[in-house]
């Protein structure tokens, strides 16, 4: 594996620039669907710029972990993004582990996010961290099983290899097991990005918040890093769904035409996925916290059945 520096820089730029736009589009479409005018799609950029300019207020009880966590969260999200084939078939960073490294790196980011919530010892932060860890303990196995279903069909745990096999076998790659795995991973996507049936991204209501609760103590630059990291993680998970199950139009080589087409396909797939997320968010009410494990256990069962059915339905 050669490290293509140009590809790394390009994909980093793509992740940094596209991630806030995706959150902006979700917010805007959601507002439109609810008969509101909604903030413009570039609002997240303005928010991030404002956060970066502002001073930080840090609790005097906070230790170094508090200042360390935003960097870890941001960098792990970026690292996971580099391991994922977004526009090209070959992911820029494909050194080790593939899908397992992706899940592990995400878990590292989540661990530090929870630590950052706990560290200033505010009541809400601890509550948020505890909820996040509880839910991710169920969501993560479902995600791993769902990815493994594709990995078995492709015969490799390397994400680039999975996408390549998927593309070469055309649309016949999407078999029944994949449908189950896709459904499971979609529920995991909703849970991991703090979307509506699980967590409400629009409010700071103390009874319901999960992700927001951990960020309450953060401000200024650190908050910008946290928010940006969350947006990148959301983009990467959506790319995982889009490219793993529908590996259409990914650029095989570095020619401008292929890259442009790849980018176009990627954006189209993202928009469809955003539409689905918005539809789910508008038509569903927030689940009570103790009901969320029910939903996630459904995701787990779907993923498990997907894995079993790759052997049973052959």
């Amino acid at each position: 594996m050669n490290l293509n520096l140009l590809a790394i820089v390009a994909q980093t730029a793509l992740l940094l620039l596209l991630a806030p736009l995706v959150s902006g589009v979700i917010k805007n479409w959601k507002a439109k669907l609810q008969n509101r005018r909604g903030a413009p799609v570039w609002q997240p950029y303005l928010d991030l710029a404002k956060f970066l300019r502002k001073d930080m207020v840090i609790s005097e009880h906070a230790s170094w972990v508090f200042s360390f966590a935003p960097y870890v969260v941001f960098l792990t999200a970026l690292l996971v993004g580099l391991m994922m084939p977004l526009v090209t078939l070959q992911a820029p960073l494909d050194l080790f582990g593939g899908a397992l490294a992706l899940v592990g790196t995400l878990a590292l980011g989540r661990f530090f996010l929870a630590l950052g919530g706990l560290d200033p010892a505010s009541a809400f932060g601890g509550m948020g961290s505890s909820r996040e860890m509880t839910l991710s303990a169920i969501a993560e196995p479902a995600m791993i099983l769902a990815i493994f279903t594709v990995a078995i069909a492709a015969g490799s745990t390397s994400l680039s290899e999975m996408v390549r096999v998927g593309q070469s076998s055309g649309w016949t790659f999407f078999d029944p097991a994949h449908a189950l795995a896709f459904a499971a991973l979609f529920i995991v996507l909703l849970a991991e990005t703090g979307r509506l049936p699980v967590d409400n991204p629009a409010t700071h209501l103390e009874l319901t918040m999960i992700h927001e609760a951990m960020l309450l103590e953060y401000s200024g630059r650190y908050l910008a890093l946290m928010e940006w990291g969350a947006a990148i993680k959301q983009l990467v998970l959506m790319a995982l769904l889009a490219n793993l199950f529908f590996p259409l139009g990914l650029a095989a080589d570095g020619t401008p035409a292929a890259l442009g087409l790849g980018l176009l396909w990627f954006c189209a797939k993202l928009l469809v996925l955003v539409g689905a997320v918005v539809l789910v968010e508008t038509t569903n009410a927030k689940l009570r916290l103790f009901r969320v494990p029910d939903l996630l256990s459904a995701a787990f069962m779907l993923a498990l059945l997907a894995l079993v059915s790759t052997f049973l339905f052959k």
Partner: protein, 222 residues
């Protein structure tokens, strides 16, 4: 009936069958009554799509009648009827099952695996895809489980309807592209009339017991 069409159909049918399975499993975890009804409608829509694909790809045009009947009856009419019933009797929206959700999910997963194992010897008989019969059996088994697990009469009606979806799927998968039309129509009208009668019954139960909980029906006097 050209080769590419039947090739595409043999890909599409297992996929749609799996979609039916996904809807069934979501039905098991979903607690809101209205969403339950919508999920059932979506599942019937997948069945309609299967029937339409079979009719188109294999030139079995009498299956198209089944597709149209399913579309009109189970995607549009019955969900509308049930939704109206739910609205009219103003029952609490939440389904309260006997077994909790993760456990019932596990049971349904086990039933799915059981159905696949049982259906395995018959895979040579199936003409359409390798998983339609297992999915049909799964719909039957989980439908029965749902009927046992739910308290309210109206959710039991829904469970009965998903069971019937399973029977239809098995009929399309196993026999020569569907049973004779007369039998299909008979089953279909049986179900529609059955649901209408059950709907009335639900209404009466609700009137006299102030509840739809069928576990209260075992007391003779109240």
């Amino acid at each position: 009936m050209t080769a590419p069409a039947s090739e595409a159909a043999s890909r599409l049918i297992p996929l749609l069958a799996t979609l039916m399975l996904v809807f069934q499993l979501l039905l098991v975890v979903q607690r809101m009554l209205i969403t339950n009804i919508r999920l059932f409608a979506l599942q019937s829509l997948a069945l309609t799509a299967i029937a339409a694909v079979v009719a188109y790809a294999y030139g079995a045009w009498h299956v198209l009648v089944v597709a149209v009947l399913t579309l009109v009856g189970k995607v549009i009419f019955l969900p509308w009827l049930l939704t109206r019933l739910v609205r009219r009797i103003k029952i609490a929206q939440e389904v309260r099952p006997f077994v909790n959700m993760p456990a019932s999910m596990l049971i349904c997963g086990a039933l799915t695996v059981l159905a696949s194992v049982v259906a395995r010897p018959f895979t040579s008989l199936e003409r359409l895809g390798s998983n339609t019969l297992p999915v049909a059996l799964t719909l039957l088994l989980t439908g029965f489980f749902l009927m046992l697990n739910r308290r309210k009469a109206i959710t039991q009606v829904l469970a009965l309807l998903t069971t019937e979806n399973g029977v239809m799927l098995a009929a399309i998968a196993l026999t020569t592209y569907g049973m004779p039309l007369v039998v299909e129509m008979a089953i279909f009208f049986d179900v529609v009339v059955g649901v209408m009668v059950l709907g009335l019954l639900v209404f009466r139960i609700r009137e006299s017991f102030d509840s739809m909980d069928v576990s209260k029906l075992n007391e003779l006097k109240w």
